[in-house]
Amino acid sequence: MASTTGTARRFSWEWIGVVPFFLYALLFLIIPSSFLVIGSFQNAQGGFTLDNFVGLFDETVRNSYTLSLQISLFTALAGGVFGFLMAYAAIAGGLPRFVRSFLLTFSGVASNFSGVPLASAYISTLGRQGMATILIGRQIRGEVLQNPNLGYAVAVGMVVIMSVSIIIYSWLQRKTEGWLR
């Protein structure tokens, strides 16, 4: 009686299917980003240091972070409130249908990220052309303080802020998905 055991039969090659995707992620997202993290812990000679993170509390750096955050927050709040009002007006305000479809078309890009518009707007503003981005660019090229490693630390700081935002965003979105179900 041929009777192969379950384990021997169950070995599967299914994971092969996702190799290209994760290989890409490794080569063009993870390895490049990890350079920053490593660099932020190094001084100009390549030794280990935490000075760069201390440097984050310098006035210039702190100011540009604060400014970035303020702009983002304001944009997100204004966008969220205004967007909500418009959506509410279109759906509950008794307006003809074509207004609604017009608005939908108009916000087509944003609607792909259904969920919490507030967080979404916050995140994209923060990530795109915020002051911090400009500062990072200049720092990395050594234009401001002649210290690229400080630039790395500034960038790592941003990644941290972004991560927190994304986590809050995902959490909020999961919650609203739950409500809608």
């Binding site: 299917g17 980003s33 305000g93």
Partner: protein, 265 residues
């Protein structure tokens, strides 16, 4: 009797004013290139005829198409496979696609330049290499859009049963993906593609850092802003028109075929 919805209309009109005032301003500005009192299309003809516009626009256009192809081929089969066989990996795939939001483009491009300007991968020296890197960077930017679109599309069809139906009729994986799954994701894939297109056409950071000089459309627009304000306004109007058209096309496609659509609506 239904009351006239004053509040609703007010909000909508305000919204339209808010969005269109700058647009109309820009449009008007772009038409005043010759004199303050008359309109002319010279800014548009200048731009459209200029060799730099054609070159950078052409470059970005082709880069956008390449990015769409890479992004779709990377994301769609992966999302399909994860959906079907490896649902446990789903949060990880989602995480990777969101990395683009976590890691600012400037950080990413900097890392890419660092990694690929030295052995074992010295890709920064050749034109082929830098073009390749730019496409890879653009692909990273497009991941969240493409993934979201494909994911929505996959949720809208019964992927597992369709796959099994095709399998029992003798279809292999290639046939299943290209003849059964992709056609049913058509709308989703297209909406992802158009979003990617819009993102790539306006992209500045990545191409500016990797490519030497002004090669792509984004840096060209920025440069134009600083040097030729009327033409810059004309380009802005053109880009806006393109984006508007793209989104319109997505909506149209979404409406086109009831029962077989998937994706944004």
């Amino acid at each position: 009797m239904k009351r006239f919805p004053i509040f609703g209309w007010l909000i909508i009109v305000l919204g339209i004013l808010y969005f269109f005032t700058p647009l109309v301003g820009t449009l008007e500005w772009s038409l005043r290139i010759v004199s303050r009192d008359s309109f002319s299309l010279n800014a548009y003809t200048n731009v459209l005829m200029s060799e730099r516009f054609q070159r950078t626009f052409g470059f970005s256009f082709i880069a956008a198409l390449a990015t769409i192809v890479v992004s779709v081929l990377l994301v769609a089969p992966t999302a399909y496979w994860v959906h079907l066989k490896l649902p446990r990996l789903r949060p990880w795939v989602e995480f990777v696609t969101l990395l683009t939001f976590v890691v600012p483009a400037i950080v990413l491009v900097f890392g890419i330049v660092r990694v690929y300007s030295r052995p074992p991968f010295s890709l920064m020296e050749t034109e082929w290499g830098t073009n390749f890197l730019v496409i890879m960077g653009y692909t990273a930017l497009s991941l969240p859009y493409t993934y979201r679109a494909v994911d929505t599309g996959l949720r809208a069809i019964d992927v597992r049963t369709l796959t099994e139906a095709a399998q029992s009729l003798g279809a292999g994986w290639g046939t299943i993906i290209f003849r059964v799954i992709f056609p049913n994701l058509r709308v989703a894939l297209l909406s992802g593609a158009f979003l990617t297109f819009a993102v790539v056409m306006g992209e500045f950071t990545i191409s500016n850092f990797i490519l030497p000089g002004i090669v792509s459309f984004g840096p060209y627009m920025v440069n134009l802003n600083q040097t030729r304000p009327y033409e810059a306004a004309a380009v802005a109007i053109i880009s806006f028109g393109l984006t508007w058209t793209s989104i319109g096309v997505i909506q149209l496609l979404g409406r086109g075929a009831p029962g077989q659509l998937a994706g944004t609506r």
